[in-house]
């Protein structure tokens, strides 16, 4: 990752994340079009997770407005996860021909769900919207962390208090 250490975390996020979103959409279009080779779909599933976790790393800077983007990513990840689960089941039960047929039929159904999820995710203008959002100016407001008590870590998806919403982001961007 090419960082610019002299720049702030927000400036780095604004530079890196839109590019990452573009690459993610490109990878999705490639992986989900066609015959869904298992390996390619599996790689894309892992990429979806990595993309989501990376966005969550920067969520404190963007505030609750990011939640909607993460939600659509989680839905896609869920659909991909179901296919992966059935493939894992198939592997574990590889000696049972009867069940394998049943599982293969289920995988076909789940692949349809993946395509449907992807179509919703990559609908008209979505990539542009993602890039504009991620390239916007993250909140200038200080984020007060509560305590760093070790036994009760915060939920990664929990919204930190006092975050700027989309309007504040737009105002900050001028």
């Amino acid at each position: 990752m090419k960082w610019k250490p002299a720049q702030s975390a927000a400036e780095n996020a604004r530079a890196v994340l839109p590019r990452m979103a573009r690459k993610f959409f490109e990878a999705g279009r490639k992986a989900i079009a066609g015959d869904h080779p298992p390996d390619e779909l599996h790689r894309f599933r892992l990429r979806t997770k990595r993309f989501r976790y990376t966005l969550e790393l920067f969520q404190p800077l963007y505030g609750p407005g990011m939640e909607g983007y993460l939600k659509s990513l989680r839905q896609l990840q869920g659909a991909l996860g179901k296919v992966s689960d059935y493939r894992a089941i198939r592997r574990v039960l590889s000696d049972d021909r009867e069940l394998k047929k049943q599982i293969d039929a289920a995988v076909k159904g789940k692949l349809k769900d993946v395509r449907r999820s992807w179509r919703a995710f990559d609908s008209a203008g979505e990539l542009k919207r993602w890039r504009a959002y991620l390239g916007g100016v993250p909140s200038q407001r200080a984020t007060k962390r509560a305590s760093t008590k070790r036994t009760k870590p915060r939920q990664a998806t929990k919204k930190p208090p006092g975050m700027a919403g989309p309007k504040a982001l737009a105002q900050a961007a001028g």
Partner: protein
């Protein structure tokens, strides 16, 4: 100890804070799974490992390379072992939902065997106080 992080924080300070949070969460999940290595606990642990691994990869440039490499190797081993358990948990759930009972005894036996290896791994991690060591190795207390 309270910290204030702003959008104007340097990237390195920000990375350190995020890594601190993720390591705290990972340590919590490791202890939780050590107490009760059930399907949910193993799943949550795997999610924590993935999040921490991703942050380590993403912010790797800010931390000592040998330490990053060592930690990633340990995390990879954890993921491989828990993957065998997770696959069986998913399959057992599928068999329960579909009413098939034939494969259950074999799968439960296999799961138990992997779980023993997993518990042994967690015992080693805990006895070496992995989170304190990693925090120290990654200089996560510096900010």
């Amino acid at each position: 100890m309270a910290q204030t992080m702003t959008a104007q924080s340097t990237l390195q300070d920000y990375a350190v804070e995020q890594m601190n949070n993720l390591l705290t969460r990972l340590a919590f999940q490791v202890h939780r799974a050590a107490r009760k290595p059930g399907a949910d606990e193993i799943h949550d642990l795997r999610v924590s490992v993935r999040r921490f691994s991703q942050a380590l990869e993403f912010f790797g440039a800010f931390f000592p390379k040998p330490e990053v490499k060592k930690i990633r190797r340990m995390l990879k081993r954890m993921m491989q072992l828990t993957s065998s358990i997770r696959d069986r948990d998913i399959t057992l759930e599928f068999l329960k939902e579909t009413g098939h009972v034939g494969h259950r005894p074999r799968l439960e036996k296999e799961r138990s065997a992997y779980q023993r290896q997993f518990s042994e791994m967690l015992r080693r991690w805990s006895s070496r106080n992995f989170s304190a060591k990693w925090r120290n190795g990654l200089s996560l207390r510096s900010v």
